[in-house]
Amino acid sequence: MEGFWTKVALRIWVALILLFLFIPILLIFFYAFNTSNIESWPIPGLTLKWFTASWDDAEIRTALALSVQAGLAATALALILGSSAAFAIHRMTFFGRDAISLLFVLPLALPGIITGISLNAFFSFGGFPLSFWTIVVGHTTFCIVVVYNNVLARLRRSQGSLVEAAMDLGANGLQTFRDITLPLISTSVVAGAMLAFALSFDEVIVTTFTAGAQNTLPIWIFGAIRLGQRLPEVNVVVSFVILVTIVPVVIAARLTGGGGAARVPAAPLSVEA
């Protein structure tokens, strides 16, 4: 329908936007190999020394360990809570359902700083010292949303008749769940878990307000950028974080069938259609 020159112009536009989106990310990977510790362009040479330097730095290793542990804990909690919420909402039809749906979206709909300072006020009011567990509580709260969205989207797409057919054939609730429901939603559960972990690993705004003397990797990065002393190591760590947050998302997308272009979710809260 569109004219030839329109299509050419559109193609050029798309190419430019793609360059705009990807060049900054690729640049970071380049800088991670920079021999110089001055962050200027062009890069004088390539080296792996900053990778070993970063690994040798105890602060970075501790922060990495903390990020991984917090991510795993938050994801595990979010899986349980998010999935059960999705199941419940899928079956319920009472009038408060929309309010609860809204509630479950709130942690991602409200700016992160509001969630951060609310939790901070809550912890200090309740006398809970800031610690690893307060970080996990903060992360779990928005990770639940991601798992919930993914599982709910898959439940809505799956055929309820399968479950009924299984029960007609004599399977009890547990068997139905194990043999029918679980395989149906398993990929969306894993996808939700991957997304939740990626979200938790990269999170800095809420974590700033819920962490005590601990550093997660993003908090370390933020501090290191401002102190300005160890920018080469920051390049390496930042490249690493990009990979760790992208890879689970790619896996999640593959698990849910890759395409997803049939019915596109507008809100990128899930990779589910």
């Binding site: 009038f95 309010a99 609860i100 309740g126 010292p129 800031l130 102190l227």
Partner: protein, 400 residues
């Protein structure tokens, strides 16, 4: 997403439950003396230990950048087994905030400056320390054994560390001759090339400048300002605002600004000058102009709920030794409180003892207007001076 008129029963119940929780656990606020320094601080009754036990293996410090450098920390960890975890705060306000709740059970010590000390002490966030446990204490200059900002009614709420001035840092390319007045950072000719700390206490620096340039205002002490003197200082800073490229929050911010060529002059600590000279990317120097300078006297204070008190005492004893005092003084560009440090400084860098005035504190000391918390009570006894909370709100309006 359709919203319903009546919130779900669950939501209503939850809100009621939450409100009930809040009501039940509401605790009264601590009554504070509100600035009177004669009253006894809340932790005065806590008796410090009489001996230092074995290190707990970890030490969490809140410090100024440059105060916890590997060049002396590594040896400390090797000696005591205490691994040091430092958080760098950009201002005294940040230190006070981090230390609330007696350090929150997280932080052991804070290297607080004079303008934070009284707030920490009267907030009950730091507790008394036993000076007998610090072997080098007897070598401290007399004034720094019990200065008014960390010793109240004979009780020591920390051990003095080092002290120094806020300097005027400038690019030698733009200013081949050292500027003689703070006017360069208020000069419209330097529009977009100036940086000053993002810290409400900067109002005192403006007041210090006005002490000399507008004597009719009658400012005697830049921290004790009447409304008229305060407004004049704030106006000066608002006029300065278009000249500022960026207000620096951490020393690292300022170093980056100078190295990028974004600024050519600014208010700084000696630490930035030393770092910039070491990096060698841009030629700088610093000076103290004729109007004088504000400065800071720092104290290592022990958090009321410190989880690692033994490591804390071991650390304090370590940084009070002449050798480490000299190393830190040279690294940051400040003056040690230990009188024996002068020799060490000379052996590390000839002429440094005189350069940092470690040997002649009296006269030099009196030229520096040390940071202290502005309170409502004026020197003449009236209550018309501007307290610090108003400095903070005024600062937000200046930098907006």
């Amino acid at each position: 997403m359709r919203s319903t008129k009546a919130p779900a029963m669950w939501v209503r119940l939850g809100t009621v439950a939450a409100a009930a929780v809040i009501a039940i656990t509401a605790c009264g606020s601590n009554a504070s003396p509100g600035g009177s320094t004669a009253a006894q601080p809340p932790t005065a009754g806590m008796k410090p230990p009489t001996s230092v036990g074995a290190g707990e293996g970890q030490l969490n410090l809140i410090a100024w950048e440059g105060y916890v450098d590997d060049s002396w920390v590594k040896q400390f960890t090797a000696n005591t087994g205490c691994k040091v975890n430092a958080k760098y705060a950009g201002s005294s306000d940040e230190m006070v905030s981090l230390m609330k709740g007696g350090g929150g059970g997280q932080w052991d010590m804070v290297s607080a400056s004079g303008d934070a000390d009284l707030r920490l002490i009267y907030g009950g966030d730091v507790k008394p320390m036993n000076t007998d446990l610090i072997p080098d204490f007897k070598n401290f200059q007399t004034y720094f054994k019990a200065p008014g900002y960390n010793t109240i009614n004979g009780i020591h709420y920390g051990i003095s560390l080092q002290w120094g001035p806020n300097t005027l840092l400038y690019s030698t390319k733009k200013f081949p001759n050292a500027p003689t007045s703070w006017s360069v950072i208020y000069d419209p000719a330097n529009k977009g090339l100036v940086t000053v700390p993002d810290n409400p206490i900067q109002i005192a620096d403006a007041a210090l400048y006005l002490m000399k340039t507008q004597p009719s205002l009658g400012i005697k002490d830049p921290y004790e300002l009447t409304q008229k003197q305060f407004d004049a200082s704030v106006t000066l800073l608002k006029q300065q605002r278009p000249l500022i490229k960026k207000y620096w929050g951490t020393a690292g911010d300022e170093i980056t600004l100078f190295e990028n060529g974004d600024v050519v002059v600014g208010a700084a600590w000696p630490y930035q000058t030393i770092q910039l000279k070491a990096d060698g990317k841009v030629a700088v120097a610093d000076t103290i102009p004729t109007e004088g300078a504000t400065g800071w006297g720092d104290t290592w204070m022990l958090a009321t709920n410190a989880p690692h008190p033994n490591c804390a005492y071991l650390w304090t004893a370590y940084v009070s030794t002449a050798k480490v005092q000299a190393e830190q003084a040279l690294f940051f560009g400040e003056t040690p409180v230990n009188t024996m440090a002068c020799q060490e400084m000379e052996s590390l860098q000839a002429g440094s003892c005189a350069q940092y005035h470690a040997d002649a504190p009296g006269s030099y000391f009196n030229t520096i207007k040390f940071w202290k918390t502005p309170i409502a009570t004026c020197p003449d006894g009236s209550s018309s001076c501007i307290p610090y909370a108003q400095w903070q709100t005024a600062w937000t309006t200046i930098t907006a």
